[in-house]
Amino acid sequence: MPRPAHILLVEDNRLDIELTLDAFKEARLGNSVYVAKNGEEAMDYLLGRRQFGDREEYPLPDIILLDLKMPGMDGFEVLRRVKAEPEVKRIPVIILTSSREEGDLALSYDCGANSYLTKPVSFEGFLKVVQQVQDYWLILNIGPPKEQE
């Protein structure tokens, strides 16, 4: 059994957050999820700033699920900053968006995205995506080494 993985979900839409968390629950993934509701909060969390100083309580995630379209700092900017920070740049970032635009795809990979998934409209589709993220990114894939462990 893999140890429960920790996921950082960066998403501003309350209903999408609820659906994603519900899908995690339904898929019976024993993962812990922290939800950052905007880009600024996500960067604070990842860099241990403000209230996120305690790594016991707010551990670095194994993967980041990142929405692209957010008010303020959008997903591309979060992606650029993550990939520029030595402490967190190796954490796989999975884009989770409703956009299938070629431009968004290209820019995401240019900014260093590790994977790009679209949010299906149906809940069953959503469940499938969440299950596959778990299977591939948290079980099959071997993540970057953890320096502190």
């Binding site: 839409n13 209903l15 999408d16 659906l19 519900d22 379209k69 409703s98 956009s99 299938r100 635009e101 070629e102 949010k119 299906p120 409209v121 149906s122 809940f123 069953e124 959503f126």
Partner: protein, 394 residues
């Protein structure tokens, strides 16, 4: 004088003093601008330094009088002539003067002023002068018309460019609008559909029959709306995405489109007849795939109740272009709708009878146009339809 349309060359020829039996010492060409004459050129070039300033009013001095009267004005000695009111020619040592109006199609175009330092009997040269001036006027007339034509052409060109730019901007804005609205619509739709499905999965037992029926309705309607948004996005993306044009095996594209529809082909039990060999066409793989998938999908959808859909695909060549024909034995399209069906949101049937978004054929048409081709339909109600797509071969 040479037939030239260039105003510079015509001016040059008009000022060529060597053609006259008694060459003048000064030649000036004035062009008419409303009620004034403006110096266009002079030989020798003593006047060209101040040419901007040299203007003569209607009726002023000999050239102004020639403009007013439309007839030549001759003066054997300008120093003695009360009509010669301007001093410049006198100061330059000129004595005899001929002011020759240049007639064009719409009146006097200008005046040619010729002056001699030695006294001349200018009227004795009138015949020769008037003949040469006639030729100059004709050349000038042509050159001026040509200049006007060119100005019109430039103006037209500028306006076309301006309108095209405006249209392009409007088009871009519209496409961006469709794009963003489609995305913005998706998020709430995902919530509607997602939570309805969660209720359907987990809480069905807690609902009575009516409640279950309504939840199913919500799920169905949100699925339909998801299709609509997907199709709208595809349509709006058509104009924004760069084309990747290359030679394509039409057979491969068609077979791939059929593969995409495997479930629908199996569900309907459709029979699809394909030709033995296929041509190469020039196009964009994604767009061509989209065209074929949408047309085949329609042929499978609009079949007559209780009749197995039978599709026949053929191709032919016409004027170096490939025409792909997709014929079905479906319900057919009434003649008055055969063009309209290619418009966005034009539907002929209720969603209950034949599900669809009303965008599929609009996508086909826009794609075909973007590939430099065209699409049309021949159809008979109750017998079937044949859709034709014409595509460039090279």
């Amino acid at each position: 004088m040479q037939a030239s349309l260039s105003l510079e060359e015509v001016t040059e020829a008009a000022l060529d003093r060597s053609v006259y039996p008694s060459p003048p010492d000064l030649a000036m060409l004035f062009l008419r601008e409303d009620d004034r004459l403006v110096l266009q050129g002079a030989r020798p070039e003593l006047l060209t330094l101040c040419r901007k300033e040299v203007q003569v009013s209607m009726g002023e001095c000999l050239c102004g009088l020639a403009l007013e009267a439309g007839k030549p004005v001759y003066s054997p000695d300008i120093h003695e002539d009360p009509r010669s009111t301007l001093t410049a020619c006198k100061e330059w040592g000129m004595r005899s003067f001929a002011a020759m109006p240049l007639w064009g199609g719409e009146g006097v175009l200008g005046v040619l002023g010729l002056a001699w330092a030695a006294a001349q009997d200018v009227e004795a040269q009138a015949n020769f002068l008037e003949t040469s001036v006639g030729e100059i006027a004709m050349g000038l007339n042509n050159a001026l018309l040509y200049r006007e034509l060119q100005q019109h052409a430039r103006e037209l060109d500028r306006r076309v460019r301006e309108r095209t730019e405006q249209l392009q901007v409007a088009n871009k804005e519209l496409e961006a609008f469709a794009y963003s609205i489609s995305h913005d619509l998706r998020a709430p739709l995902r919530a509607v559909s997602g939570f309805a499905q969660i209720i359907a999965r987990r809480h069905k037992a807690a609902l009575n029959e009516e409640g279950r029926h309504y939840v199913d309705n919500i799920v169905l309607a949100s699925e339909r709306m998801a299709h609509l948004i997907d199709d709208l996005l595809t349509y709006s993306r058509l104009g924004r995405q760069a084309l990747k044009l290359r030679a394509l095996d039409l057979g491969k594209v068609v077979k791939q489109a059929i593969d995409n529809l495997t479930d629908r082909v199996e569900a309907t039990g459709a029979i699809i007849n394909l030709p033995g060999d296929w041509p190469t066409v020039f196009g964009d793989q994604t767009l061509l795939q989209q065209i074929c998938t949408n047309l085949l999908d329609n042929a499978l959808t609009y079949h007559q109740p209780g009749v197995v859909p039978e599709l026949r695909l053929t191709w032919s060549m016409e004027d170096g272009q490939i025409i792909l024909a997709i014929a079905d034995n479906g319900i057919g399209i009434p003649p008055e709708y055969q063009e309209k069906i290619f418009n966005v949101f034009q539907r002929l049937h209720s969603d209950e009878d034949y599900p669809g978004t009303g965008i599929g054929l609009a996508i086909v048409k826009k794609s075909a146009i973007m590939l430099g081709g065209q699409v049309w339909v021949e159809s008979e109600v109750g017998k079937g339809s044949t859709f034709y797509i014409k595509l460039p071969k090279e």
